[in-house]
């Protein structure tokens, strides 16, 4: 059995060491009882070095305790509960308390305060992080939108430029040449009718006109080639920038015929095809399949894979005519379309999975972003991209599997 003295001391210590500030104040704020934590919390806030009146000590806080206590009209009960209060000690950073005041009687109020500064600081840090994240995401979204729109525009320009590149011979030039030949064949007859000086002048005019036309065509082709290179460069820059920004998942998808995407990609690579004398072979067994996605993203992947195929020929001594074979087929369950882009180029001996890792490339001057980016784009379309090869010098194939967009969903 504990003595009354020991029991009293135990109770005092219990209250004194309670890890929350406990005070008894009167309606005017004078402190009558307080425990250790109350003193520990309030002393740094006291401007006078005394702890006599709670309202004075907390006069700079963002809550007017005096008003709250005076305004409470009940006989007993809760004046405020778990109210957050901010205080600024004279020589330290702001501190935060959770404050509860209970009216015990007309002359007695129980005040409980717990220091929640650490919690508030964490909340502030989290809030700042959320704001920064939102800001970052907002910026990324804007950047992604801009890149997406530029990408679409560039894809359009590239298609036009590459069509222009395909027009190597002008029919007007050939027609003029034929007319000139006709004039030469009928030179004597024309001289008789027009006179020799007029006939010679006409022939000279036609020759100059044809030379000018040839010169213009050559110059235009040169400019178009430069433009194609610039467009290809811009596409590469956009591709890299997209990786830094990250594709936004909410980018609106459109539904497109897969074959159209393949043909657009081929069209964009016409110059490279002709330069390397590579033929394109087509076996579209499912030419009617539609896929849903971002046009610029999917075309970018196809162009990248075509370029990989072309560039593999550069690294190989070819005995046979270089070609790229494009095939389409359906999965056995009829829900997915598979594009296979195979070539008879250099092939590879690496583990195909390694080629998808950022920084791994077969090319000498590559940052390895291409295939990594392609895989991410295809995966963002709920698809798969994988590579196969029978080994170095034995060609390679890129396979893309995408969900087929059903007719009613278009």
């Amino acid at each position: 059995m504990e003595s009354k003295e020991k029991e009293r001391e135990r109770l005092l210590r219990f209250l004194y060491l309670a890890p929350v500030a406990l005070l008894e104040i009167d309606p005017g704020g004078d402190i009558h009882l307080m425990n250790g934590y109350a003193s520990g919390y309030l002393m740094p806030l006291s401007k006078t070095g005394e702890l006599t009146n709670l309202f004075q000590i907390l006069s700079d806080a963002d809550i007017d305790l005096s008003e709250l206590v005076k305004g409470f009209t009940g006989e007993a009960g809760t004046v405020i509960k778990d109210r957050r209060m901010r205080c600024v000690p004279p020589t330290a950073a702001p501190v935060y308390f959770s404050l509860t005041i209970e009216r015990l009687s007309s002359e007695s109020f129980l005040v409980a305060m717990s220091d929640i500064t650490v919690q508030v600081r964490q909340e502030e840090r989290i809030s700042t992080m959320i704001e920064q994240e939102a800001l970052h995401r907002g910026r990324a979204e804007i950047a992604s939108g801009v890149l997406h729109d530029i990408g679409n525009a560039i894809t359009g320009i590239a298609t036009g430029v590459n069509r222009q590149l395909g027009e190597t011979d002008w029919p007007e030039e050939a027609g003029l040449a034929r007319l000139e030949d006709m004039f030469r064949d009928a030179y004597d007859a024309l001289c008789r009718v027009l006179g020799s000086s007029t006939t010679d002048a006409l022939l000279r005019y036609m020759t100059e006109l044809r030379a000018t036309l040839t010169s213009r065509r050559t110059e235009l082709n040169k400019n178009t080639e430069c433009m194609a290179q610039t467009v290809a460069h811009i596409s590469e820059v956009l591709s890299i920038q997209r990786q830094y920004v990250g594709e936004q998942p909410d980018r609106p998808y459109s539904v497109m015929p897969l074959v159209q995407l393949l043909e657009d990609a081929i069209s964009m690579q016409n110059a490279a095809l002709e330069k390397r004398r590579i033929s394109i072979r087509r076996q579209y067994s499912d030419g009617a399949a539609y896929v849903a996605g971002t046009r610029s993203g999917l075309v970018r992947v196809l162009v990248n894979l075509l370029r990989n195929a072309f560039e593999s020929f550069d690294r190989t001594d070819m005995d046979s005519e270089p070609y790229v074979l494009l095939q389409t087929s359906r999965s056995p369950d009829n829900t997915r379309v598979i594009v296979t882009m195979s070539d008879n180029g250099g092939g590879f001996g690496l583990d195909p999975e390694e080629l998808f890792e950022m920084g791994v490339s077969r090319k000498k001057n590559s940052d390895g972003i291409g295939l990594f980016a392609c895989q991410k784009i295809i995966e963002s379309h709920n698809g798969r991209l994988w590579l196969t090869s029978d080994g170095p010098g034995k060609g390679a194939a890129a396979h893309i599997e995408l969900p087929i967009q059903e007719e009613q969903a278009r």
């Binding site: 001391e9 210590r13 004194y16 307080m34 425990n35 520990g40 002393m43 070095g49």
Partner: protein
């Protein structure tokens, strides 16, 4: 044997360090002797009387967290933790028997001595 010096004496740390723990009871102000990490090694009768606690409530306990959490702030405990040399007197309010009690605290610490001390003198009403 050394006599208890006055609360405001200049060389009090040297004098009080020279005293046996038993002689600390001769001081008419509270004396808490602690290790450098705040564990109470001795407390005199004046402090026991002021606090209303028994000796056993002090000894081998961390003074700032287990005995007097009212001192566990930047005004008192932080100074002991951060400063190598400390001799500072401040007005403070203790809560003896749950009543706010104005006191003067003299905080003493030196690298020359193994123990640190907190002297407590009740302010004149």
């Amino acid at each position: 044997m050394a006599q208890c010096p006055g609360f405001n004496d200049t060389d009090i740390l040297q004098a009080i360090s020279d005293m046996d723990d038993d002689k600390l009871h001769d001081c008419d102000f509270g004396v808490v002797k602690m290790s450098k990490d705040g564990v109470v090694q001795a407390v005199n009768n004046a402090e026991v009387e002021l606090s209303g606690l028994s000796q056993s409530a002090f000894i081998d306990k961390n003074f700032f967290t287990q005995v007097a959490p009212c001192t566990n702030n930047y005004m008192v405990a932080e100074k002991y933790r951060k400063l190598g040399e400390l001799d500072e007197t401040i007005a403070y309010v203790f809560t003896y028997r749950m009543k706010p009690t104005p006191v003067h605290l003299r905080m003493l610490k030196s690298q020359a001595f193994e123990s640190q001390y907190l002297l407590v003198e009740r302010s004149e009403p």
